[in-house]
Symmetry: C2
Subunit: 198 residues, 2 copies
């Protein structure tokens, strides 16, 4: 997603193509992880914590695969508008920030997965709030009556903003699944699925 953001803001076609191509690797890894999970269920017949771990892995693989799709979608918007940038100047800094928050969220979700670091999962929820705020900022820019970049750019910005927001939701969902696995308690305070009021 970090590279997709660069592709989008700099109208970098090579970068966009590389993001689009890389999504296939994520899809392949997801299939591999799912096959491995089903194989484990069949051969080892895990129970209790082991069973929960395998089921969690399958659900996380679905979230991670979807995050790859969303980065690819951002890259496709960049490619579609090349050699122009899909993002008008007034919106650049907000989208840049969305990219940075996405990068931070992914890094934290990765460290939660690797080390089962629950504290990191808690700060991740705050990053997700930040992403929601940026998402609302984009919508406010679109509808405050001062939008002069045209309808096509508004359509692009609407979709791109939603892709970032969904990306963050899936990363938070991944981290929550790990927390649930470790503690047996589901974090509250956030809806697990998106619930944006535009």
């Amino acid at each position: 997603m970090s590279r997709a953001t660069t592709a989008l803001l700099d109208a970098d076609l090579n970068m966009a193509e590389s993001v689009i191509a890389a999504d296939e690797q994520i899809d392949a890894l997801r299939r591999e992880l799912d096959d491995l999970s089903i194989d484990l269920l069949a051969r080892q017949q895990p129970v209790a914590t082991d069973l929960r771990m395998v089921v969690t892995a399958m659900r996380m693989s679905a979230d991670l695969e979807r995050m790859g799709d969303l980065a690819r979608h951002v890259a496709k918007v960049a490619r579609l508008r090349y050699p122009n940038s899909a993002i008008p100047p007034m919106m650049r800094s907000t989208v840049l920030e969305m990219g940075q928050v996405a990068e931070r969220i992914v890094a934290k979700a990765g460290s939660v997965i690797a080390g089962k670091d629950i504290d990191s999962a808690l700060t991740l929820e705050r990053d997700d709030d930040e992403m929601d705020r940026l998402h609302r900022d984009i919508f406010n820019m679109l509808i405050d009556g001062k939008w002069t970049a045209g309808t096509e750019a508004a359509v692009d910005a609407t979709l791109v903003s939603r892709y970032y927001e969904r990306f963050a939701d899936h990363a938070v969902s991944v981290a929550r699944r790990v927390v649930y696995l470790v503690t047996g308690e589901w974090q509250t305070g956030h809806e697990p699925d998106d619930d944006d009021e535009l």
Copy 2:
């Protein structure tokens, strides 16, 4: 989704509220189905076809739950713009058709689940093509330079159109999983995830 379409086109606030409230029932059913699946895995330790069936049920429950979210999103757009309709007159017939295609797709996916009716799954792919065509029609209306309904309406239309398109994708995904369960072969010709080029 059918009721959400009515709420959207008729600016029917009660209908919108009922769709939003009903999504909670879908979420509860999803949790129930997932708990049942994990319980089955733990107690019965299924292998081969039985194992594939339980894993398929868990994946389908995720798709169906998401379809509920998407209908709720459409209803929320209706509620947000009440007492106006979020959909400008020039776009009504296309959105109406999207609602009808969504209804047809859900009915077919239901009959595929109930009867493992593979022929119905094949025609479902065509319905999904129809939905993709309507989705492109909406985008073309937005960007052909003749859009006069303003940026806010463009944002609504962009999101609503995407909600319908994703809803159809998830329904097709549900049907494919059943076909895969029955035949052991994954249907090709469609990407399982969305791949809209705007």
